[in-house]
Amino acid sequence: MSSDLKPMLDGIFEVGPPPRLLGAECPICERKFFPKPIVCPHCLEDVKEIKLNTEGTVYSFSILRIPNMLYKYPQPYASGYIDLDGDNIRVYGLFDPEKTEEIAIGQRVTLKVGQIGIGLDGEECLRYYFTPVDGGGK
């Protein structure tokens, strides 16, 4: 992976290896969040940064077949919701562009980071994505 590429947004994930999503936990109500909120919206207290689990299960997904020029994603690409193991949190993410047709509800996935599309500044950037691992799915 080219090391001069930057994440599409700061403070969302660690590039690694191993890559980790940066979430948050409220010290009062113990709710977990992704991404990190400004304060806990339930308690209005500062939250502490945590590293989220890297494995999970696909809850739902979509495959966009038409071009999305907004961030120049591959065509087609899959994205959707993943229930992270242990963290009691459902996060949104891209799926491995090489394995679009393997994505299914119940598919087990693991976190990766790589160059996908462009960022807010129009430059190529790093994004997190989930790739299928054995088990679950169809």
Partner: protein, 383 residues
């Protein structure tokens, strides 16, 4: 709180109006509504203008005052409302509150939108939204709901396509629906370009231009202007939950807004004669019929297949053509749903008239945050 009636409606046809400016569409709808109500523009006490994209697409802002004055309304308070697809219903809720409070007697609501401009990007609520940065666009959010709904309840892509076939057929009976001029077949819907599985091009509402307007009046005064007021029994607006556990297989916002609206009106889903809902994508209507209580959760697919939501069925849905049949001029859409309710309850809907309609429900939903609808509206009208 005072009861509120709708005494006038107007609509600039939904279609492609490349050479008609946004303000002109709004003015024409407003003039029709004011004349229909039998009031003078100078009698209007307050105005609400709904629009979503003028700042982006035609580089206009604070458009409401120009629209209102075009229809002869000046000096009075005018508010410009943006609440995505529900903007027109959100404006109606504010108009109702302003009259119910006793502060104003006559309110004008206008929703207008111009989308047929040279370049319209894929809609997304914010470039910095993490879900958008990770590939979510509006159609994906609904495709994810469709995928989950099919997985959980066995809904078929044919059932989804039937929503479009029905609404396109209804639109042909509506003289204000100008976007299409022919029906579609199930095969055409299923065989059109795949956009975001399982949603094909014809499973998505097109971008149309148009405007819709309403004149609301304190019920105790409406007999001065009309002999056939339509009662606005409930006008409810809610926001999403936005927690860390988004649910793709139900519309919690529909359930919550619907419950409040039914309780306020003293009615239930079994009392509803006909409804308009936010069928931006075929899956939406299937889910709305479930979450508004017209059929059990998970049975929206068989419900449309049974013909229950067709004209002449148990509860006709989107008899105006809906968003799929008329197109979706965002800020005008939810106001036009209420216009359809008034026309149906007056018995003036011609070939698409729902026989004996007494209670009409309109539902709209707009934009997404963390997998929930940002905004959801339910209005209930009665004769």
């Amino acid at each position: 709180m005072r009861a509120v009636d709708i005494i006038g409606v107007g609509m600039f046809p939904f279609g492609v109006h490349k050479t008609t400016p946004l303000v002109e569409m709004g003015v024409r709808a407003a003039v029709e509504a004011i004349k229909d109500a039998g009031v003078k523009p100078s009698q209007i006490n307050i105005g609400f203008f709904a629009n979503m994209q003028a700042g982006n697409l035609t580089k206009e802002f604070t458009t409401g005052q120009a629209v209102m004055w075009g229809a002869g309304v000046n000096k009075v308070p005018v508010f410009n409302i943006e609440n995505a697809c529900t903007s027109g219903a959100s404006a109606t809720t504010l108009a109702m509150m302003s009259i119910a409070s006793g502060q104003y007697d006559l309110a004008l609501v206008v929703g207008a939108e111009k989308l047929n401009v040279p370049f319209v990007p894929l809609l997304n609520p914010s470039m910095r939204d993490i879900n958008v940065l990770e590939g979510n666009v509006v159609i994906n959010g609904f495709a994810q709901r469709a995928v989950r709904h099919m997985y959980e309840y066995g809904t078929t892509k044919e059932q989804l396509a039937m929503v479009d076939v029905k609404n396109r057929r209804n639109a042909l009976l509506n003289p204000k629906a100008k976007f299409f001029n022919k029906p579609v077949t199930l095969e055409e819907v299923l065989g059109s370009t795949m956009m975001s599985d399982p949603l094909t091009k014809l499973s998505c509402c097109p971008n149309s231009d148009g405007a819709a307007a309403l004149v609301l009046c304190a019920a105790e005064l409406s007999s001065r202007y009309t002999t056939r007021p339509i009662h606005l029994k409930a006008s409810v607006l809610v926001s999403g939950v936005f927690d860390e556990w988004p649910d793709m297989q139900t519309f919690e916002e529909d359930q919550r807004a619907g419950r409040t609206a039914y309780e306020t009106a003293g009615l239930g889903p079994e009392d509803v004669s006909a409804a308009e809902c936010h069928d931006a994508f075929t899956i939406c209507e299937v889910m709305h019929t479930e979450n508004l209580g017209f059929c059990p959760i998970g049975e929206g697919g068989p419900f449309v297949e049974s013909g229950a939501t067709s004209l002449g069925g148990k509860i006709p849905v989107n008899v105006s053509g809906g968003l799929l049949g008329k197109g979706h001029p965002l800020g005008a859409t939810a106001a036009a749903q209420i216009v359809e309710g008034v026309i149906q309850l007056r018995g003036e809907a011609g070939d698409r008239q729902v026989e004996g309609a007494k209670v009409f429900l309109t539902e709209c939903m707009g934009a997404e945050l963390r997998g929930d609808a940002k905004t959801c509206t339910v209005n209930i009208l009665t004769v």
